[in-house]
């Protein structure tokens, strides 16, 4: 355990009230334990549980800061309280306060979830142990809250993106069709400025339609569950290339692929990832025809799949930015697009429990790599995961 440096925090804890549940059959020992805490400045209030039934009833009724449990009790042992709390879904630190406890047993107890163990003839150690356990629980709770908050705000954002893009489509369709109608009927009949304005309006409407559709696709990645199944990446690559046939032919791109692994993934989402990466490799090509290599590496716990190109590359300071939604590195006239493609890739890969990054430099081509865990894990989706946790 690391040394605590936050002295102010410690002081605040020391003077604080402490709700203690003692699991103890010896009243004299219980008294000694409490005295050790009070001497160290705790205002300790304690309940006593001697049996499993009493313990269960008390933890259901009260909120304890810490549980101090004897390892050996006549009818059960203190470690069972750890398991019981877990079943009750309660995060209360359990410190074993016990007579001689072999080194092996002690280590085993910590492994199983006890916060610490203190020997009854070293009760002077107890206050510091309690302080640390309480502090660690507070941190865990803060962490959990932050994570829940983040998950909630992500869900809200997705919901917002979905509703907004869905409801935007209808009025947008009106703008698009009627500016087109305007162009069809009145192009060349007004003056040059009018033609230009109509063109701008048409172009804007069309771009916004694409944007709304892409945003909808982005929000769908999180909304729809994943169908995780055994997926042959060679087949996935083939499918994504079929979708890109026109772009491949038009650019004269050469695609080389090595033997790719079979992974646990949602195949249609994986097709989208490879398709977006290859489409980018074609779009951001240099003066020579694109050469794109798709390869894979097997590491101990994951597969690393790479898509390497000979295109214009990405300046070092921009490499973090490419995965951010709506972030574009080029003028629209140079390279069209709305900056959603790579953020969709990132979302899909992270949802599969993997990572995605890029290695590149200006004028050096880019290599996008992503990992997929060798065994399926899912975040947020409802994929199958038969592993025992």
């Amino acid at each position: 355990m690391t040394e605590e440096k936050d002295a102010a925090h410690v002081a605040a804890q020391a003077s604080s009230k402490l709700q203690v549940l003692l699991v103890e059959d010896e009243p004299a020992d219980a008294e000694l334990t409490l005295r050790a805490l009070r001497q160290a400045g705790f205002e300790a209030n304690a309940d006593l549980a001697q049996t499993e039934e009493e313990f269960t009833e008390l933890v259901r009724k009260h909120c304890y800061d810490v549980i101090l449990a004897d390892y050996k009790l006549p009818n059960w042992n203190g470690m069972e309280s750890v398991e019981l709390l877990r079943r009750e879904g309660q995060d209360v630190p359990v410190i074993l306060v016990s007579g001689a406890l072999g080194e092996l047993t002690a280590v085993e107890c910590i492994k199983q979830g006890a916060a610490d163990y203190v020997l009854k003839d070293h009760l002077a150690r107890l206050p510091e142990s309690v302080r640390r356990a309480v502090r660690e629980r507070a941190l865990r709770q803060e962490n959990r809250q932050a994570q829940e908050e983040l998950a909630r705000s992500n869900r809200d954002l997705e919901q917002f993106a979905y509703v907004a893009s869905h409801d935007l489509q209808e009025p947008l369709r009106m703008v698009a069709t009627y500016t087109e109608l305007l162009a069809e009927r009145y192009q060349g009949k007004l003056d040059a400025n009018a033609d230009k304005y109509i063109h701008y309006a048409e172009d804007g409407a069309r771009r916004m339609q694409k944007l709304v559709q892409d945003l909808l696709a982005f929000s769908r990645v999180g909304r729809q569950g994943m169908a995780i199944e055994s997926t042959d990446c060679n087949v996935v690559l083939h499918a994504s290339l079929l979708n890109l046939e026109a772009a491949v032919q038009e650019s004269g791109a050469a695609i080389e692929s090595a033997q790719l692994p079979v992974v646990m993934a949602d195949s249609s989402q994986l097709i989208q990832v490879l398709q977006n990466l290859i489409a980018n490799a074609i779009k951001f090509r240099g003066s020579v025809p694109p050469l794109i290599r798709v390869s894979a590496e097997t590491k101990s716990k994951e597969f690393v799949i790479s898509v390497a190109d000979n295109g214009i590359g990405i300046a070092a300071e921009q490499m973090e930015n490419v995965f951010v939604i709506f972030r574009r590195l080029h003028a629209r006239a140079e390279y069209p697009g709305n900056g959603i493609g790579l953020s969709i890739c990132k979302k899909i890969i992270e949802q599969h429990g993997g990572r995605i990054w890029v290695e590149s430099g200006a004028g050096q081509g880019s290599t996008f790599r992503f990992t997929l865990p060798a065994q399926a894990t899912t975040k947020g989706g409802y994929g199958q995961n038969n592993e025992k946790s």
Partner: protein, 145 residues
């Protein structure tokens, strides 16, 4: 079919205008009438109130998202009414949701057509709908009511 009658149910005047224009310019001599919400649609079809002299449509073009009574309810009213059930209903909507498509067909819609997002496709969709339903397809004979 001679002078086919179409009832368009849509709360968006822009879509009614565009559809009417496309149909006016095609060869079928279509007559397009329109109402803007679901309650009006049912009154029209049942010839109630001001619609007592309304012609019986040969085709209903129905949006899903309607005020007062939504398209699905209108559809189920039509299909549950022995006098109206034989009139083909084309759902014409901007909804892409698969659930809307499935539900519409399950409720007896004769066709589900999504309103395309650009002019050329919109024109093509309306033209082919009219051509198919009021040209190639055999429809029940009109009865005097």
């Amino acid at each position: 079919m001679k002078n086919p009658e179409i009832l368009m149910v849509d709360d968006n005047p822009a879509d009614i205008d565009l559809t009417s224009e496309v149909l006016a310019q095609s060869e079928g001599h279509f007559r397009v009438n329109s109402v803007n919400d679901g309650v009006e649609a049912i009154s029209y079809l049942r010839r109630e109130g001001k619609y007592v002299r309304a012609p019986v449509p040969d085709l209903v073009v129905l949006d899903l998202n309607l005020p007062l009574k939504d398209g699905c309810e209108v559809l189920s009213n039509i299909k549950a009414d022995p006098c109206l059930a034989k009139i083909p209903v084309v759902i014409f909507t901007s909804s892409e949701a698969n659930s809307d498509v499935t539900r519409s067909y399950k409720m007896g819609a004769n066709c589900y057509l999504r309103k395309p997002g650009n002019l050329a496709e919109f024109v093509a969709a309306v033209q082919s709908m009219a051509q198919f339903w009021l040209g190639f397809a055999s429809l029940p004979k009109r009865e005097r009511r």
